[in-house]
């Protein structure tokens, strides 16, 4: 594609043989198509209605194929061509033979059409695939300055939508014009043969059409170009609205955004309307010119005929022949318009994908053997500038050893960040050279960078994958071997088709992980390794928490589930031994849990189904059935009445927007008046069915230990336990697989890991209960070696789009972990933990330095206070090195 300015050249180069094949098939189909059109006539005339012939003959010759040559051409081509001499058949057989031939021909034409369309479609799709791949390939090779400028929604709209019409056009790029031109030429030739002058008139009109129409269409194409740009920018703006959604709300500027979008829509509308007006004007003009010809024929031909200078039959033949001319001409003109349209689309897209300084493809080729990074990293007279041309680094001379840690310090804007970004290749080196051992930075391949250098900045990007995949992302720079038990035939097909479309033959389903760099191979080793890194960056606790909140599939992982149940028992034994049992109220099938809500107590199980959550219980028919069966309704209504009275008493004087409602009230502010009326009716014995059902909902959220309204008396407790049993025993079959009841000895697949381990609720009203239970739980999990199960589950947590499900601090730690786990020879950290508090920062610096001891680590520090922990401290100011001292020298200075 590089330098391929014309779409046609591009199409021809990459689909020449396919285009010619389609053309050949199309040509081959013509005579057959023609035959299938003439056969019905033969069936009627020859077999059915030609009684005179059959009265005289017993048989008729079948498959006697001759081509009659028009009289005017007989001089050159002879009177007729005999293709087959055929054989004789009786009348019925003759009819049958003709009909079967018709069927065969129709079938065959259909088949050829099918073949041709598939070939065209495939050809278009292959070329489109090639083009799209090349566009994305170019994005991957964009220089960083271009990446910063590019709007992702616009790029996406180009790659996906703007090139789409090309796919449809490519199939017709050659066949269609050849065909139409052929038809038009035949018709024109025929007219010429009949009468040279009329032929010239027809030719002249066609020529005029060909001259005028494209000229008139030029402004339309220009408008089309504008429309494409405006639509693309609209896509970009929509992307911005989504990305900046939160900030738009913060600033209350949504109406400005609306105005902005409306302006763009208005512009698109205006352009579109202009296009329509011009388009339909040209269309009617075109039709008018086409109709000019018969007008001329009738007028001049008629005049000549009247004067006896022309034969009337000849004139009719010309007029009949002419009706075949405007169709192809019109289509040809339409096709040409489509051609120019896609050419413009192609140009417009290509324009955006030709920045200067693209990364040469060879620097991105995967390497089997990546050269070692040995020696020093050396900056010689490096001057670097940013996109605007401001000097970031000014003639920097610096040698960084790969066996020690180096802190880079300095005030804001001193150039230290630029030094870090140098190794992310995100600043432009204007002069001087950067040597990575023996390799020059500007010549270093991506494979070398990926393997030997690790970089993390303050705001790394994360993919919407799991934490594990994000963490290991930096180790996927080279495809691994095919798994043994894969479908080789399918893979061969995949690879062959990829190559055909000019795509590389990389497979995503092979293992891309670099196990050597990771230093682990088995899943258990990998988890250990990840856990180690998580410890270093201080993310272990977060992942552990994610793990506790996530679910484990016991069918996929029965051993882990078993260990979790073991941990559950061990935790309970530990709490008992330490006299802490009161901190957790366990789920016991025979005991009402005072720290769980009434609904949870009735359901006594977990479900992934939204209908079967405790909060959805009032809407569950089965629940209502159980309540009726157990005669619980009266109790629930009484409890509800008591709650409603209390709520009204407590909250009636508060304004509806008071935070207390949200935090404490069982009844939302808006419903308080309605409940007041309900209570009044209930007190006077006039409660309706609806009132009673409204009241009976209230106690479902009631947690005795928390709300302390004293509603769960021993009698009610027993009734509720009975209802719990009935609920489970009479559960309809369709609900049964969707809920899992708590059972002390079984893993509950619908509950998260924390609930499975704790298997109960932390007691309300005991100081520090949560913290203390967590500490014991962690210890139990460590001792039983279940922590890796939790960490594994936590690593399956999704980071969300651009890592948005993580806090900024978690993102920074994850970015650091992702760089650290690569075990690179040279690690560059650029203000990587800027979002953390001082204590965490200092702990992480210590742990990372300990982990990287003896290996090259450069850390651009946001503040100087941590610098003394490094082997060497380099200080920048105004883009220059202004201080450089080793730990020993620093210690000496401190001693003096």
């Amino acid at each position: 594609m590089a330098g391929e300015s014309s779409l046609y050249r591009y199409i021809w180069r990459h689909s020449r043989s396919e285009q010619l094949t389609v053309l050949a098939v199309a040509l081959a189909a013509q005579p057959i198509y023609f035959l299938s059109l003439t056969l019905p006539k033969l069936i009627v005339n020859g077999a059915i209605s030609d009684n005179d012939y059959w009265a005289a003959h017993a048989t008729r010759n079948f498959l006697h194929l001759i081509v009659d040559i028009p009289q005017s051409l007989q001089a050159w081509l002879g009177k007729q061509w005999v293709i087959l001499s055929g054989f004789d058949l009786a009348r019925e057989s003759y009819l049958l033979a003709l009909c079967i031939s018709f069927l065969v021909l129709v079938g065959f034409t259909g088949f050829l059409k099918f073949l041709m369309n598939t070939m065209k479609g495939r050809m278009g799709e292959r070329l489109l695939r090639r083009l799209r791949y090349e566009l994305v390939d170019r994005v991957l090779r964009f220089p960083s300055s271009q990446l910063r400028r590019a709007k992702q929604a616009e790029i996406a709209s180009m790659v996906k939508d703007e090139v789409e019409p090309l796919g449809g056009f490519i199939g017709d790029a050659v066949v269609w014009p050849v065909f139409l031109a052929g038809q038009a030429l035949t018709a024109l030739t025929f007219i010429l043969v009949q009468n040279v002058w009329l032929g010239l008139v027809a030719g002249g009109v066609v020529a005029a059409q060909a001259m005028i129409i494209p000229r008139l269409r030029r402004p339309i194409l220009k408008l089309g170009k504008q429309r494409q740009l405006t639509a693309r920018q609209l896509a970009g703006r929509v992307g911005e609205i989504v990305d900046g959604g939160a900030d738009i709300r913060v600033h209350g500027t949504s109406n400005w955004e609306r105005a902005e979008i409306v302006r763009r829509l208005a512009k698109i509308y205006d352009i579109r309307f202009d296009i329509y007006q011009r388009k339909y004007f040209v269309k009617s003009l075109n039709n008018f010119i086409a109709q000019m010809t018969p007008f001329v024929f009738y007028l001049i031909g008629g005049y000549l005929a009247i004067k006896g200078k022309m034969d009337v039959g000849q004139l009719l033949a010309v007029i009949v022949a002419y009706k075949d001319l405007p169709g192809p001409i019109k289509e040809l003109i339409d096709w040409d318009l489509a051609r120019q349209d896609v050419q413009i689309k192609y140009d417009q897209v290509m324009d955006q994908f030709h920045p200067d300084d693209m990364v040469p493809p060879e620097l991105q080729a995967p390497l089997d053997e990546v050269p070692e990074l040995s020696g020093d990293v050396e900056l010689k007279n490096v001057t670097a500038v940013d996109d605007a041309g401001f000097t970031l680094l000014d003639d920097v001379e610096l040698k960084i050893a790969l066996d020690q840690s180096t802190a880079i310090t300095g005030g804001a804007g001193c150039g230290k960040e630029a030094l870090g970004l140098l190794f992310a290749r995100a600043v432009t080196v204007k002069s001087g050279s950067v040597k990575l051992g023996s390799v020059d930075l500007s010549q270093a391949s991506d494979a070398f960078f990926g393997r030997r250098i690790a970089y993390a900045g303050p705001d790394g990007y994360f993919f919407p994958l799991t934490l594990r995949e994000n963490l290991l992302y930096g180790l996927k720079y080279k495809p691994g071997a095919l798994p043994k038990n894969c479908d080789h035939a399918a893979i061969d097909r995949y690879v062959a088709e990829a190559r055909r479309a000019g795509n590389p033959d990389f497979l995503t389903d092979v293992d891309w992980l670099d196990y050597e760099a990771l230093g682990a191979r088995t899943p258990a080793e990998i988890t250990d390794r990840i856990a180690e890194i998580l410890d270093v960056v201080g993310l272990e606790y977060d992942v552990y928490q994610f793990g506790l909140q996530s679910r484990l599939d016991p069918k996929a992982n029965p051993a882990a589930a078993e260990r979790v149940v073991e941990a559950r028992h061990a935790l309970r034994a530990r709490l008992q031994a330490e006299n802490l049992s009161s901190l957790v109220e366990s789920f016991d099938p025979g005991v009402y849990n005072r720290n769980a809500s009434l609904a949870e107590n009735l359901l006594f199980g977990a479900s992934l189904d939204p209908e079967l959550q405790a909060s959805a219980l009032p809407h569950l028919p089965h629940f209502r059935r159980v309540v009726a069966e157990e005669g619980l309704e009266g109790e629930l209504v009484a409890m509800g009445l008591s709650i409603a009275e209390t709520m009204i008493e407590l909250f009636r004087d508060f304004p509806p927007d008071h935070p207390f409602f949200e935090e404490f009230s069982f009844i939302p502010a808006a419903e308080l008046p309605a409940y007041q009326a309900i209570v009044k009716r209930a007190k006077t014995g006039g409660a309706t069915y609806a009132d009673r059902s409204q009241l009976s909902i209230l106690p479902l959220r009631y947690v005795e230990a928390r709300h302390r309204l004293g509603l769960i008396t021993p009698q009610i407790r027993e009734r509720l336990l009975a209802a719990r049993r009935t609920f489970a025993d009479t559960l309809p079959d369709d609900l049964r697989p969707r809920i899992e009841f708590y059972s002390p000895d079984h893993y509950n697949a619908a509950a998260n890991l924390q609930d499975n381990i704790l298997f109960g609720r932390i007691s309300y009203g005991i100081a520090e209960a949560g913290t203390r239970v967590n500490a014991v739980m962690r210890d139990v999990l460590d001792r039983l070696d279940v922590r890796d199960v939790i960490i594994d589950a936590g690593l399956a947590y999704g980071a969300g789009a651009a890592g948005k499900r993580l806090t900024p601090a978690q993102r920074q730690k994850l970015g650091l972990a992702r760089a650290l786990i690569k075990n690179a020879d040279f690690l560059v950290l650029n203000s990587v933990v800027s979002g953390l508090d001082d204590q965490q920062k200092s702990d992480i610096v210590d742990r990372v330095l300990a982990y990287r001891r003896g290996r090259g680590t450069v850390w651009v520090l946001t503040k100087d206070d941590l610098a003394p922990r490094f082997d060497r401290v380099v200080t920048f100011d105004h883009g220059r090195v202004v201080g450089d001292r080793t730990r020993e020298a620093g210690a000496r200075v401190a001693a003096q």
Binding site: S582, R594, T646, E649, L650, F651, D653, F654, P655, H658, P659, F660, E663, F664, A705, H707, R708, L709, G710, Y764, G765, I766, A767
Partner: protein
């Protein structure tokens, strides 16, 4: 009433206890009920520290059951300056003003408390002016008492000839 069956006590009994605190003596039952409802019932073991001296205070505790020591740091280490029991209200100054805890509170027996959070307390005062007035009255009374004590102390000092 022991700690173990403490949580069985409902907010009604908590209201009863709140009423015995002079600060709340004049306040409507329904408001005290609200205060109890929005507060957290919290049990401590013997030896547990409710808060340390110098902590930023964010809540006060009504001792429902058990007893506590009030411990102040001195040059010679911690000194127990008071011993409080049932119905004591500790840490209440932090409900009204932002200041560090002036003493530590240590449970000397299994403790059952009602923890009143500053945030909720403030919300109540903001929306219930009559309650704020009651608190004001109580504080003025305390100030008056303190003034009286102060002037009598002065008088004693003066009569002892130390001035």
């Amino acid at each position: 009433m022991s700690v173990s069956d403490g949580p069985h006590m409902s907010i009604l009994s908590e209201v009863d206890r709140l009423r015995r605190i002079p600060l709340f003596a004049q306040i409507d039952t329904s408001k005290l009920k609200l205060l109890a409802f929005t507060s957290e019932r919290l049990a401590f073991e013997k030896g547990a520290v409710l808060f340390k001296q110098g902590d930023r205070g964010d809540s006060a505790y009504l001792i429902l059951e058990g007893s506590v020591d009030v411990v102040v740091d001195s040059a010679n280490g911690p000194v127990t300056v008071a011993h409080l029991g049932q119905n004591a209200f500790v840490g209440e100054m932090s409900l009204l003003c932002d200041m560090p805890r002036t003493a530590a509170i240590v449970a000397t027996a299994p403790l059952d408390t009602l923890k009143i959070k500053k945030e909720q307390f403030f919300q109540l005062l903001r929306d219930m002016p009559q309650m704020a007035l009651e608190i004001l009255r109580e504080l003025a009374e305390r100030l008056n008492n303190t003034n009286k004590e102060l002037s009598s102390a002065y008088a004693k000092l003066r009569s002892a000839g130390i001035e």
